[in-house]
């Protein structure tokens, strides 16, 4: 009998199925990997287990007994603890107080510091090789590096003596030695009968630490493999599946007409990036999520300070020191989170469409002609076939795909020369996706330089003329034309030295200039 089994887990976010009947079975004392490409639902499945997401439907059995998990408190009561990339540490408190937060031992209402001190010191001593000598129970968490914070977060979960410990990308901010330390701790835990669920984008870690692995694809469980009997390449194959080769955009007659040229761009989260985008070209940004793609787009758009490097637009140097300047220079950004960065949710669709380009149509540099605004907005709605009730309805009345089209439309009205798209089809249903693809292609065909970041490898393969794969803020490699396939993108992102892709050292040095190939 498994320690815990989850079957038929369903979860929908609006029109998007995050989980579609996924299942997971865990044994006591094992390290169980959970794998899948971006957006396959592994995080959602973890969160269902930890009680932070309540599923639409699920059967969960612990020790063979059916249970329900609705709140984090339920999960904690069942001995399930989770560590996410997004930490649950209170920055302003000390390490010691964070470790016992919520479970402080007390005597007559007073915190019994002595009761927990020994335990805290023991766990900190155990983590000493990873934390370094300076970190004690009285160190404030905000003064720690991300890696140290991650270790404290792990210690916090371990101190609660869970039966099931979920580590969701817990190694992402750890250095190699810290990962080794974590592995030692995991082995001690499993030897004592704890089950560890391990999620990592680093396949070699999965190969090293996991006993078994469950693989998810588009919200479904496709396989559970025993790691000792499988290989890295087989894991990748199972993750990617037999994807029908994406239909590629017709090869365009390459012009040498360079629209955007970027050299040595360094900004928060981005190091020394070179880019060239020709007229009519769609340049893709690939790689694992959070490797600097969004940060690169924000830096190009003047939204984060550029520390070094230069940007040339049509042969002229431009200084995108602020969004206002970048907008004036003909840049447009469709940001990654349309709700919090792209839209004024409670405001009318009309206002959302007009706001960026309003300046172009004012009466006496101040007044707004509603007739003109309505005409322009109605045109945009029709051109992008946005399905709306009325222009005066708030954006909240729209589906994800149509809301995203509003963001795109507001920028098109400003007639940009460079369009930066940050994962524009995230959380968008299939048909709207196809329409957005058509819009992006049309944009490129009309001579606009397009840079597209996408967490969906199929999307990159389908749309892009060239794809740059980023890793930790640097360009790792570049794929051109027919090289852009799902499995090569996955392989490049996971740092598997496969085929003719270079190693990290080579590609950082190589100039990603497509025309030279």
């Amino acid at each position: 009998m498994p320690l815990l089994s989850m079957t038929g887990v369903h979860k929908r976010y609006g029109g998007v199925r995050a989980l579609d009947g996924a299942s997971l079975s865990l044994e006591a004392g094992e390290v169980h990997g959970l794998l899948g490409p971006n957006g396959s639902g592994k995080s959602t499945l973890n969160k269902v287990l930890a009680g932070t997401v309540s599923p639409d439907a699920a059967t969960i059995e612990l020790d063979g007994q059916p249970i329900t998990i609705g709140k984090p408190r339920d999960a904690a009561a069942r001995g399930i603890a989770a560590v996410y990339q997004q930490l649950s540490l209170v920055d302003s408190l000390t390490v010691g107080r964070n470790l016992t937060l919520g479970v402080e031992p007390t005597r007559a209402g007073f915190v019994d510091n002595r009761a927990s001190a020994a335990e805290i010191d023991e766990v900190l001593e155990r983590l000493r090789p990873g934390l370094g000598p300076g970190v004690t129970a009285t160190t404030e968490v905000s003064s720690l590096t991300p890696g140290q914070q991650q270790l404290v977060e792990i210690a916090k979960a371990v101190l609660r003596r869970p039966r099931i410990l979920i580590l969701d990308e817990a190694t992402a901010s750890l250095h190699r030695d810290q990962v080794q330390l974590l592995f030692e701790i995991i082995r001690e835990l499993t030897a004592a009968g704890t089950c560890v669920v391990f999620v990592s984008h680093r396949l070699e870690e999965v190969m090293t630490i996991c006993d078994r692995a469950t693989i998810l694809r588009t919200g479904r469980t496709v396989a559970t493999l025993t790691i000792a009997e499988t290989s890295e390449s087989e894991l990748v194959r199972t993750m990617v599946g037999d994807v029908a080769q994406a239909e590629r955009r017709a090869e365009l007659a390459r012009t040498d007409d360079m629209v955007l040229r970027v050299r040595g761009l360094t900004a928060p989260g981005v190091s020394d990036v070179d880019l060239d985008v020709h007229r009519g070209e769609i340049l893709g940004l690939g790689g694992l999520q959070g490797q600097g793609q969004s940060e690169l787009l924000l830096a190009l758009f003047g939204a984060t300070p550029i520390r070094a490097g230069e940007i040339e637009l049509n042969g002229r140097r431009v200084a995108n020191t602020s969004v206002v300047k970048a907008t004036g220079n003909g840049f447009a950004l469709v940001p990654g989170d349309r709700g919090s960065q792209g839209l004024f949710m409670q405001r009318a669709i009309q206002e959302n469409l007009s706001i960026v380009s309003l300046r172009r149509r004012l009466l006496a540099a101040l007044g707004i002609s509603m007739r003109r605004e309505r005409g322009v907005a109605a045109d945009a709605v029709q051109r992008l076939s946005i399905k709306i009730g009325g222009l005066d309805d708030p954006v909240t009345s729209l589906s994800g795909g149509n809301a995203q089209k509003v963001v795109i439309a507001k920028w098109l009205l400003n007639e940009p020369a460079v369009v930066l798209l940050d994962d524009p089809t995230k959380g968008v249903d299939i048909s709207a996706k196809a329409e957005i693809y058509a819009i992006v292609r049309e944009l490129a065909d009309s001579g606009v330089a397009v840079i597209l970041n996408s967490s969906d490898d199929v999307e990159l393969a389908e749309l892009c003329d060239r794809v740059i794969v980023l890793y930790e803020g640097r360009i790792r490699t570049q794929l051109v034309g027919d090289e852009i396939t799902s499995d090569r993108l996955v392989a490049a992102a996971l740092l598997i030295g496969e085929g003719d892709q270079g190693t990290v050292d080579e590609t950082v040095a190589a100039a990603p200039d497509g025309s030279d190939r």
Binding site: L343, F344, K410
Partner: protein
């Protein structure tokens, strides 16, 4: 699905949205209060009495213009200094005018500049020093109080110019004083600025989502600072008209207007979180509060009870309109 929605948007839906409109609700409340007043105390709803109540509302209404703009600008925007600033405006105005029309222009312009300067300091502190709006404006309240004492030496001097008094106290057209027409013009003007100019649309955008506003190429800082400057100017304008009403000035003339100005904005349906609402609602809100005060006075309710009622009304309205999201709902 959208097609279906469009079809259903027939009469019942439109009716429902009208009935749910805060401006409509507030107007109904105002009228109901007048009717109740007329029943309890005949003559309360007479034309002259209503005009008189509207005249009283105009001071609060004009001070609430700035409060509306500041709250619309979002980011926990609020101006707790409006009452004191209005008082200062009246005091400076009275001293400059000194009871003669010859000094009228200076007596209006100088206080307005003072109000703009105070608003500018508020805005700069909030935007560049990142002092939370309530702390900044609360601190400013203390400073303005100090300025008032230092400027007057503890005893206010001067009088309103006769023109100003006439504007507020003399019936001019349809039995209504000029100040009511000034207010009506301001209602139209402010609504136009908010709904039909770029600064107005930028204000709504900034209040609705600052990140998105910044990423849409809107100058967020200037917009926020502008909102506080507008608040200082409007507060002084309200204070000057109040000076016209009282003719002479006291050291706490308009101090009590801060809480009602916020209440008027909330009654008018402007979201305390910013980005949604408008001035017409605040104007009606000001009328509701003034009529309520008159009614409570008519009922011989002492000032202390009226203060309680004011606070409770604000709390009830907030509970209806202004609830925040739950943690991880």
């Amino acid at each position: 699905m959208t097609a279906a929605t469009t079809q259903r948007a027939g009469m019942p839906d439109r009716l429902r949205s009208v009935v749910r409109n805060p401006v409509v609700i507030a107007s109904i409340i105002a009228i109901a209060l007048v009717v109740i007043g007329q029943i309890v105390s005949p003559g309360f709803g007479s034309y002259n009495q209503v005009i008189s109540m509207l005249r009283i509302s105009s001071f609060l209404g004009i001070i609430a213009i700035g409060q509306t703009i500041v709250i619309l600008s979002g980011g926990d925007g609020i101006d707790l200094s409006v009452g004191k600033v209005a008082t200062l405006g009246a005091i400076v105005g009275a001293r400059v005018m000194d009871g003669t029309d010859a000094n009228l222009a200076g007596g209006i312009l100088i206080p307005l500049l003072v109000g703009a300067a105070i608003g500018l300091v508020n805005g700069l502190g909030i935007v560049y020093l990142r002092i939370p709006p309530f702390v900044m404006t609360l601190g400013m309240l203390g400073v303005v109080q100090g300025i008032i004492l230092a400027y007057t030496g503890g005893a206010a001097a001067g009088r309103a110019a006769p023109f100003l008094t006439e504007l507020v106290n003399t019936r001019w057209l349809l039995g209504a004083p000029g100040v009511l027409f000034v207010w009506i013009i301001l209602i139209v003007l402010v609504t136009l600025v908010l709904r039909r100019t770029r600064p107005g649309w930028n204000l709504y955008a900034v209040g609705s989502n600052r990140t998105a506003a910044r990423l849409s190429g809107i100058r967020v800082n200037s917009t926020v600072i502008g909102a506080y400057v507008a608040s200082g100017v409007c507060a002084v304008l309200g204070g000057l008209l109040l000076l016209g009403y009282t003719e002479s000035v006291f050291l706490n003339l308009a101090d009590g207007y801060t809480l009602p100005s916020i209440a008027a904005v909330v009654i008018g349906g402007t979201l305390i979180a910013g980005g949604v609402g408008g001035y017409l609602g605040s104007a009606v809100g000001a009328i509701v509060l003034s009529v309520l005060q008159s009614l409570l006075t008519t009922l011989n309710m002492p000032a202390s009870h009226r203060t309680i009622v004011n606070g409770v009304i604000l709390l009830v309205l907030l509970a209806l309109y202004g609830r925040q999201r739950k943690l991880r709902s």
